[in-house]
């Protein structure tokens, strides 16, 4: 069966896991198809490198397949996958941490036509979701800034504010309590604002 064209994408995840854990690689291919995109996006935001994130995402699924028989947390598959992804991302991140982070300036025009800067765009009503191109650029700048935060704050922001995981899911992934996660998120947002402020003043 060519999994790429398979319609099994609608098969319940528990069923796919059951089959894959018995060695059915096609079933696992469907899982890959189903979850690759969001794991890849998470890793891209984390590592800020599309190519490295791609390799890391494949690695996440290979590790998941290897350990599928040990997976017994019914209903928490997404969280389990994010946990593996977070570990892979940390490893990849650490191996690259000597590389200098790409610098950006909030005063650098994001929208060439209007000359708008990142800071002005965040507070500007005219940037509606229909302005997709501009907004995507803006997102990228913000993700770059998140990467410059302390890793534990960056992870909390990426999982909750970017990927949209619930507190319960994200705290499971990070192995911390929801209370601690709440504290981290609040600090992370505060730190992000500070970065934006610094960038606006041109000191970043």
């Amino acid at each position: 069966m060519d999994v790429r064209r398979s319609r099994d994408i609608d098969t319940p995840i528990e069923e796919l896991i059951e089959k894959a854990s018995k060695g059915d690689k096609d079933a696992f291919g469907v899982i890959f198809k189903k979850y690759y995109s969001r794991i890849h996006r998470y890793l891209t935001h984390y590592l800020m490198d599309h190519g490295i994130a791609e390799d890391a995402a494949v690695e996440v699924f290979i590790q998941a397949y290897r350990n599928l028989q040990g997976y017994d947390e019914r209903g928490k598959f997404t969280g389990w996958l994010y946990k593996i992804a977070t570990n892979c991302a940390r490893k990849a991140y650490n191996s690259r941490k000597k590389e200098r982070a790409m610098l950006t300036s909030m005063d650098r025009p994001v929208d060439e036509e209007t000359g708008a800067t990142l800071h002005s765009m965040i507070g500007d009503d005219s940037y509606r979701p229909d302005g997709l191109v501009e907004k995507e650029d803006l997102k990228e700048y913000l993700y770059e800034l998140i990467r410059r935060l302390d890793k534990k704050y960056g992870e909390a922001l990426l999982l909750c504010d970017v990927q949209g995981l619930s507190y319960a899911e994200a705290s499971e992934v990070l192995d911390i309590s929801e209370n601690t996660l709440g504290v981290r998120l609040s600090r992370a947002r505060e730190a992000l604002y500070k970065l934006i402020e610094r960038a606006r003043k041109g000191s970043l």
Binding site: R4, K34, A57, Y65, D161, V183
Partner: protein, 428 residues
Amino acid sequence: MTRSYSGNDMEKRLRGLLRDDSPDIAPDDRVWDKFSRRLADVSQTPSPDRGNHGLYFAAALALVIGVALYLLVTPARPHVSNAKGTVKIFDSSANRWYFAGEGYPGLGEGDIIKTFDDGECDLVSDGKYYMRLRSGSELLIKELPSKIFRSEIKYVMDKGDVLTYFRKVLPIHDKMSLETGSALVSVVGTDFMVKSAPSMANTWVGVLTGAVRIDGKDIDGRIKKDGGILVNPGEKVVIDKGKNPPEPSRMLGGEIADMSELYGMGNKEQVALIISGGTERVKEMLEMPIVYISDKSSSALIREMGKILGELKEAFVEGRKDKYLSNIASFEAFLDEHPDPKYDVILRLFIGAYYEKIGEHAKSIAVFGDISRKHPDSALLSLADCAIAVIFEGPLADPDKARELYRKILEKYPDSPEAEYARLRLVR
């Protein structure tokens, strides 16, 4: 294009912008090829045979426990480290003296470690005990454990000062003693200091944690069979040669401070509140307590705790009350999340004191009050209760309430330093 906007608007917009709402896209052919190639070579980690799962687990556990016990109960032979100034080692098997660091062939029974007036060194048996010999000390290794069944460690010190941290794992099995000219100091547990006068006329012993047993010596140097005493944490005793040890007395703040380097000795997961054992310790604690957290700790939790405390202190130094309060709240949340009976009380005392330091009296009282609810058997309850009384007496200017609380302290903890403090306050 300048617009005004509030912080809340900003937060909403920012969160809206951060959300990754891109649609899921199936991996392209290149990624599929990569994935398929990798997957083809992979086999799954076999799950353990469910039927034998318990058996495997039990066997593995027994093996781990066996190895751990062996390692724990058989201390490594000691070695000298951190030698500063002149430190010499007598190798009894070769009958010659070496300078520390000169490459002596390892320590054994009969060897002597001698620190001169400018010298100091540590004697370390990894994971088991650490002894710090201050200048002018001479220590003889009388007996070392070589087998699992003979585990007594015996040292003899004719003169000098030695700080000792001993990690007691098995109460019956682990024995260590230090003999001086006038006493035999036997370890019951953990941290203590022994000072032996050069004339061997007397021996000073102070205990920081755990306890030690002290036996006196007769005038001929034989250990007396009767009259031994137990010295508990915060206590000291001076034993004169030829006499039985007297009743221990409480150590003074300066004496405790003199021993505080014990907290940094060894690879212990150490969290300690450093205060003296005197009557005024409640005031000392409310002033600015010091919490010592070992930076050698292998525990991620302890390291995390150290980090949060570091931020808290930083906020205090910067004078930023908002940051300070948010850090204390995080620290409390951390303690709630990782309750550890070993450290919980001292860390909550610390938090209470830090709230008080910035005038958050109600919060401070709540934290101190919580200690008796959470740890009704703690030996430090008198300190927590007394701190509340001090706050009512001082900052809250409620002498009636303070008197009531002091009286309760006298009833509940009559032998504590706080009872003495309460007595003094009630007289005034």
